[in-house]
């Protein structure tokens, strides 16, 4: 099994040199900590910054510098600042190479649900619908099953949809999978100590298993 940090570490391996990346709130934010230092990447914050740096020290804290999760941040050398319209212009225009976000459910067609649970307080979609509608490459960080054991990798999403046919890759506590439209969830790797059988049981949508499935090694 992978814990949250394990999921973040595994997703960090998908990062390539020269990428502009948008990280969602939660596990996706942790990914930044595990991107190899030799890679030059730029992190986008949809409230108007390219070049998110580390969290500030106490005396660097600046209320005019926050990320999309409203956390205080710093800027890397070479950063740029812009309005929300410009920010979503670069997202909608397909200029951001990689989007990493969390999900409550993903379907075997790559539909994602991550903004609303019926019967619970609706907080809003924020920038999630804009991001998933336009991103070139979307990786989802999520738990494979809910707390009561129900699969979150489904044939079709049961929760209100955030976007259709957009998720390309999923990293869960159990596995790494590609979403192949018209085919299903293609199993790529197993989390340490997890069997293919475990993953089959935890996946409601169609699971494709071809050949030997390697275990993730760190």
């Amino acid at each position: 099994m992978l814990d949250k940090i394990g999921i973040a570490k595994r997703i960090a391996r998908e990062v390539r040199d020269g990428m502009y990346i948008n990280l969602g709130i939660g596990i996706p934010t942790l990914v930044a900590n595990y991107i190899p230092k030799r890679l030059n990447v730029v992190l986008q914050s949809e409230n108007g910054l390219l070049g998110i740096g580390p969290f500030p020290t106490e005396d660097q804290v600046d209320p005019d510098l926050i990320n999309a999760g409203k956390q205080t941040i710093t800027m890397m050398p070479g950063s740029s600042l812009f309005s929300s319209a410009e920010s979503f212009g670069m997202i909608r225009g397909g200029h951001v190479d990689l989007t990493i976000l969390g999900a409550m459910e993903v379907s075997e067609e790559g539909d994602i649900a991550n903004w609303k649970v019926p019967g619970k307080m609706v907080k809003g979609m924020g920038g999630a619908m804009d991001l998933v509608a336009s991103a070139k490459h979307i990786i989802v960080a999520m738990q494979h099953c809910s707390k009561d054991g129900a699969s979150k990798l489904l044939k079709t999403c049961t929760l209100p949809i955030t976007g259709l046919k957009c998720v390309k890759k999923i990293v869960t506590d159990l596995a790494v999978l590609d979403v192949v439209p018209g085919v299903g969830f293609k199993l790529l790797e197993r989390a340490p100590g997890v069997s293919v059988e475990d993953i089959k049981k935890a996946t409601e949508g169609k699971l494709i298993v071809e050949g030997e499935i390697p275990e993730i090694k760190f």
């Binding site: 500030p56 319209a85 809003g124 804009d130």
Partner: protein, 231 residues
Amino acid sequence: MINKVVANADDAVRDIPDNAILMLGGFGLSGIPENCISALLKKGIKGLTCISNNAGVDDFGIGLLLKSRQVKKMISSYVGENAEFERQLLSGELEVELIPQGTLAERCRAGGAGIPAFFTPAGYGTEVAEGKEVREFDGKKYLMERWLKADFSFVKAWKGDTSGNLIYRGTARNFNPMMAAAGNITIAEVEELVPLGELDPNHIHTPGIYVQRIFQGKNYEKRIEQKTITI
């Protein structure tokens, strides 16, 4: 140059009537028009429609106007940080329209730029698409979204001059530039009001043409929602 300086926040909001449609800049509590929110609270006008990315927190920002029951409707992308908001929403006192953040930003931009509608892929196939025209362009589906305009826009800038030219600081810029342009009357409050000629024209973010009133703000709290530190 035209002098747009008013004495203070109370003077700036003097003629805002009940049931006005307002835009308020800011993302979370960053870049919000703190002084104008206090003045609206004091003025006590009711039935307001507030277009703002967020709804503040219980005791700061737009949260203050919610608590005093001055807001009839919120148009936002994310409203999760406010318990009073939740209570009013569930009891039916408050109307809420949730809009994808990029769509909200672009609808404001369109309002200021004279573009009545545009097409965006955000929200296609979701409940946001209900009742909206869908068009296909080059094989992809898009929703038609309409412009947004306001009777009054409230923006907060770092520096401004007496003719309303504005410079923002850091990520406190966010929705402020588009909302400045989309307001029939735009009120700018600034941390530092400077004489004409002091701001480098190369560095202006919001040209003064969009601003009708400007004043030197005071007592900025600039509250931080999630203080996060490297140890």
